[in-house]
Amino acid sequence: MSSTRTAVRTHWVAVRAMLIFTAVLGVAYTLVVTGIGQVVLPAQANGSVVRSGDEVVGSALIGQSFTDASGEPLPEWFQPRPSAAGDGYGGGASSGSNQGPENADLIAAIEERKAQVAEFNGVSEADVPADAVTASASGLDPHISPEYALLQVARVADERGLPESEVRELVESRIQARDLGYLGEPTVNVLQLNLALSELG
C-alpha cells in the first residue's frame, strides 16, 4: 500500500515538474529568443530574404531552381546543383537522395548529369566538377563550387549577348572565400550571382 502511495506521489511530482518545464523551456524560452531575433536580428530571423526591386524572390540561404515549366534548365541562368528536395529545390521537402555509393540509379543519374552538363556548356565530361553531378544533403544547397560557376560563364554570356570577360569578372567577384580563410569550402551563391547578372542586363 505504501509503495503504491509513493509511486502515485512521485508521478504527481513529475507531472507538476513537466508543466513547469513546458511553460519555461517550451513557451517562455522560445518567445524570448523569438523576441530577440525579431527585434535585434530581424533580417536573419525572417529567413535572409532577397529582393529583386521590391519583390521578394527567395532567400539568400536557400537554393532555387532556374528551369522552365517542364523542368529543363534555362541556359541564360547559372545552374545550381542537382536537388532531391521534392521536384527539385522544394522548400517544404528538404532531403538528400540517400542513394548509396553502389546504387545503380545513382550511378546512372551521375552518368546522365555528366553528359548533360558537358553538352549544355560545351565542355568535355572530364571537366565537369563533382558538385555539378551530385545532389546535396538538403536539396536546398544555395551554393556551387567556383569551378562549376566558371564552367558556365561562356554559355551564360553567349545566351545573354554579354562579353564573356564581363560575366567572368562578375563570377570572380562573387566567389565567397572560406569562412575565416580556412573553414569550409569556397563557394558561389547561385541566386545572388544570377540576381547580379540580371542587373547587368
Binding site: 509511486a7 512521485t10 508521478h11 511530482v13 513529475a14 507538476r16 515538474a17 513537466m18 518545464f21 519555461v24 523551456l25 517550451g26 524560452y29 522560445t30 529568443v33 530577440i36 531575433g37 525579431q38 536580428l41 536573419q44 525572417n46 529567413g47 530574404v49 519583390e55 527567395g58 532567400s59 540561404l61 536557400i62 537554393g63 532555387q64 532556374f66 528551369t67 528536395a85 522544394g90 522548400g91 517544404g92 521537402a93 528538404s94 532531403s95 537522395s97 540517400n98 542513394q99 548509396g100 555509393p101 553502389e102 552518368e111 555528366k114 563533382a130 546535396s136 538538403s138 544547397d141 551554393h143 572560406r178 569562412d179 580556412y182 573553414l183 569550409g184 569550402e185 541566386l191 544570377n194
Partner: protein
C-alpha cells in the same frame, strides 16, 4: 592544402574545447555539489512538492527518473495526437498512433530518431512544447544520472546518491537554459531563422514558385545540439541552410555538441577529488575521437566506390559550403556523442566511410558520448578495464578507492550487454520474421543489396545507442520499425540507467580502501591505453560479424 585547412579546423575546435574544459567542468561540479538553492528554485520545489535538502537512496532516485520519463512520454504522445486542435499547427493533422509512440519514445530517450519528415508532420506547438522541452529535460536527466554515479565514487558509507529533482532542475535551469540562450543568439547571427511565419510562397527569379519554410528554429537548434539530442526542425537536419547556414555555424554546432560531454570528465575529477582522474578519462575520449575523425575523413576524401569515382568525389549528400571535411567532422562528432544530427547524408557516404558512424555508435557512444551518458558509459568501461587488469595480476580490482566486487562486475557486464543485444536481435528479427521481412525489403529498404542490410543495422544501432542519426533512405514510418525502434530506444536508455544507478548505490555504500603498492594507478598513460583497448576490443568482438555482412562486404567488394 585541403589537409592543412582540415587540421586547422580540427585544431580550432580542440582549442575552444580546451578553453571550456576547466571553467565549464568546474561550474558543473559546483552546480551539482552546492547545497544552496536559488530563491526561485525554492519556490519551484515547493510548487512540485519536494524537499530539496532530502537525499535519496538509489531506488528512490531511480523512481524519480522513471516517473519523470513516463510522464514525459505521455505528454509528448498526447500533444502529437491532439495536434489538429493545437495552435500554430500549420494545418497539420494529428500524428498517427504508431508514429506518435515512436517519436515520444525517441525524444524522451534523448535519441531523437525521426521516422517522419518534420516539415510535413509536426506543427510549431508540438515542436516547441513537446520536442524542445524533451531536448532540455532528457539531457538534464542524462547528466543527473552521471553525477549520481560520480557521487557513488566520491562518497563513503553513504546510503544516498543525491536528489533527482534538484539535479534535474539545476541541470535544466542553471546549465542548459543559459547556454542555450547564448547559443541561440550566435546561431541567429549566422542566419538561423526564428519566427512563426509558417510557409511563405515566393516567385523565384526564374518565375517558378517556392515555399520558404519558417519556424522557431534557432531556439530548438541550439538545445538539439547542446543536449546531444539531434532531432532536426527540418528533414535535412543540420544540412538545411536554415538550421546551419555557414561553415562557421557548423563548427559552432560541433562545439555545442562536444562542450558538455568533454567537460564532464573535469566535473568527475573535481567531485572525486583528483583532477588527474578526469584528465585520464578525457585522454581516452579524445584519443578515440581523433582516430575516428581521421579514419572517416581519409575514407571520404579517398572517395572509393563506383558513384563517387564516377562523379569525381564523394559529394553526393554533402553541402558545398561544408565540403568533405566539414561533413566528416560533423558526422564524427554527432555519432561519437549521442546527438545524431547530420549535416551530410550518411547513407550516401562511401561504403567504408558509412561504417564509421556505425562503429562510433557501436563503441557505446563514450568518446565523449552524450551529455551524462558518455561519462557513465566510460566509467562502466573503466570498471571493466580495472577488472581485466586485476585478473592479469591476480589482485582484487579497485577503482578510485572502491573495491570492484562481484556485484559491481555483474552490473557493469550487464550494462555492456544491453545495447549489443538490442542491436543484433532487432536487426536479426527484421529479416527473420517472415511477414516482416517482406515488408522490410519491399517498403522500408531504399538502397538495394548489401547496402539495404546496412540501413537496417544502422537503424537499430542508432536507436539502441540513443543516437538518432540514420541511413536515412530507410522508410522507418512502418508499424514494425516504429514499434521495434521505439522499444529499442526505451530499453537502450533506461535499462543502462537502472544498472548505473544500482552501481552508484552499491559504490556509495562502500568505504574507501587506501591505495597500496599493488593498486593499479588509473591516472597514468598505461591505464589510458588499457581503457582505449578495452573499449575497442569489446566493440570489435561484438560487432565484427555483422559488419562483415554489411559495410565491410560492400566496401571490400
Amino acid at each position: 592544402m585541403d589537409a592543412l585547412f582540415a587540421v586547422m579546423q580540427a585544431a580550432t575546435l580542440a582549442l575552444i574545447l580546451a578553453l571550456l574544459y576547466r571553467p565549464l567542468g568546474d561550474y558543473m561540479a559546483r552546480l551539482y555539489t552546492s547545497d544552496r538553492d536559488w530563491k526561485f528554485e525554492r519556490g519551484l520545489y515547493r510548487l512540485i512538492g519536494v524537499d530539496p535538502r532530502s537525499e535519496q537512496s538509489w531506488p528512490a532516485y531511480l523512481r524519480g527518473v522513471l516517473a519523470f520519463s513516463v510522464v514525459g512520454l505521455l505528454f509528448v504522445y498526447v500533444l502529437q495526437r491532439a495536434q489538429a486542435v493545437l495552435p500554430y499547427s500549420l494545418g497539420l493533422p494529428a500524428v498517427p498512433e504508431g508514429l506518435s509512440f515512436n517519436t515520444a519514445a525517441s525524444f524522451v530517450a534523448n535519441t531523437n530518431w525521426q521516422s517522419y519528415s518534420p516539415e510535413l508532420t509536426m506543427g510549431y506547438t508540438v515542436q516547441l512544447a513537446g520536442l524542445a522541452v524533451q531536448n532540455f529535460v532528457s539531457a538534464a536527466v542524462g547528466i543527473a544520472v552521471a553525477v549520481a554515479l560520480v557521487r557513488g565514487f566520491a562518497r563513503r558509507n553513504s546510503g544516498t546518491i543525491g536528489n533527482f529533482w534538484v539535479d534535474l532542475f539545476r541541470g535544466a535551469f542553471r546549465l542548459l537554459l543559459p547556454l542555450s540562450v547564448i547559443g541561440a543568439i550566435v546561431l541567429l547571427i549566422g542566419g538561423v531563422v526564428q519566427n512563426f511565419n509558417g510557409f511563405t510562397e515566393v516567385t523565384t527569379l526564374a518565375g517558378n514558385t517556392q515555399n520558404l519554410p519558417g519556424g522557431p528554429v534557432a531556439s530548438q537548434e541550439v538545445i538539439k545540439l547542446l543536449g546531444t539530442n539531434g532531432g532536426g526542425f527540418f528533414n535535412a537536419n543540420s544540412a538545411h541552410p536554415f538550421e546551419n547556414p555557414t561553415a562557421w555555424t557548423s563548427l559552432f554546432q560541433n562545439v555545442l555538441m562536444l562542450a558538455i560531454p568533454f567537460a564532464l570528465p573535469r566535473t568527475f575529477g573535481r567531485m572525486v577529488g583528483s583532477n588527474k582522474q578526469g584528465y585520464a578519462i578525457l585522454a581516452v575520449m579524445a584519443t578515440l575521437y581523433l582516430i575516428s575523425l581521421f579514419a572517416l575523413s581519409a575514407l571520404e576524401s579517398g572517395g572509393n566506390g563506383t558513384a563517387p569515382e564516377l562523379a569525381g568525389g564523394a559529394l553526393e549528400g554533402k553541402e558545398a559550403r561544408f565540403g568533405i571535411f566539414g561533413s566528416t567532422l560533423f558526422g564524427t562528432t554527432s555519432t561519437l556523442t549521442s546527438t545524431g544530427a547530420v549535416n551530410s547524408m550518411h547513407d550516401s557516404f562511401t561504403a567504408l566511410g558509412g561504417m564509421m558512424p556505425m562503429l562510433n555508435m557501436m563503441l557505446g557512444e563514450v568518446a565523449p558520448g552524450g551529455v551524462g551518458s558518455g561519462l557513465y558509459g566510460m566509467l562502466v568501461l573503466a570498471i571493466i578495464a580495472v577488472f581485466i587488469a586485476g585478473l592479469l595480476v591476480g589482485r582484487t580490482p579497485e577503482y578510485l578507492g572502491k573495491k570492484i566486487g562481484p556485484r559491481e562486475i555483474k552490473l557493469a557486464s550487464l550494462y555492456i550487454l544491453v545495447t549489443p543485444t538490442l542491436v543484433l536481435v532487432g536487426t536479426a528479427l527484421s529479416f527473420a520474421i517472415p511477414g516482416i521481412r517482406e515488408d522490410v525489403e519491399s517498403v522500408s529498404i531504399w538502397n538495394p543489396g548489401i547496402h539495404g542490410m546496412s540501413e537496417v543495422l544502422y537503424a537499430f544501432t542508432s536507436a539502441s545507442n540513443n543516437n538518432g542519426s540514420a541511413f536515412a533512405g530507410l522508410t522507418a514510418n512502418t508499424p514494425w520499425f516504429n514499434t521495434a525502434l521505439g522499444v529499442a530506444m526505451l530499453l537502450g536508455r533506461f535499462i543502462p540507467i537502472v544498472l548505473v544507478l544500482a552501481l552508484a548505490g552499491s559504490l556509495a555504500a562502500q568505504d574507501k580502501v587506501p591505495a597500496t603498492a599493488g593498486t593499479l594507478p588509473t591516472h597514468r598513460p598505461q591505464f589510458v591505453g588499457l581503457l582505449v583497448g578495452v573499449t575497442v576490443i569489446v566493440t570489435a568482438l561484438t560487432y565484427f560479424p555483422v559488419l562483415t555482412l554489411g559495410p565491410l562486404a560492400e566496401g571490400l567488394n
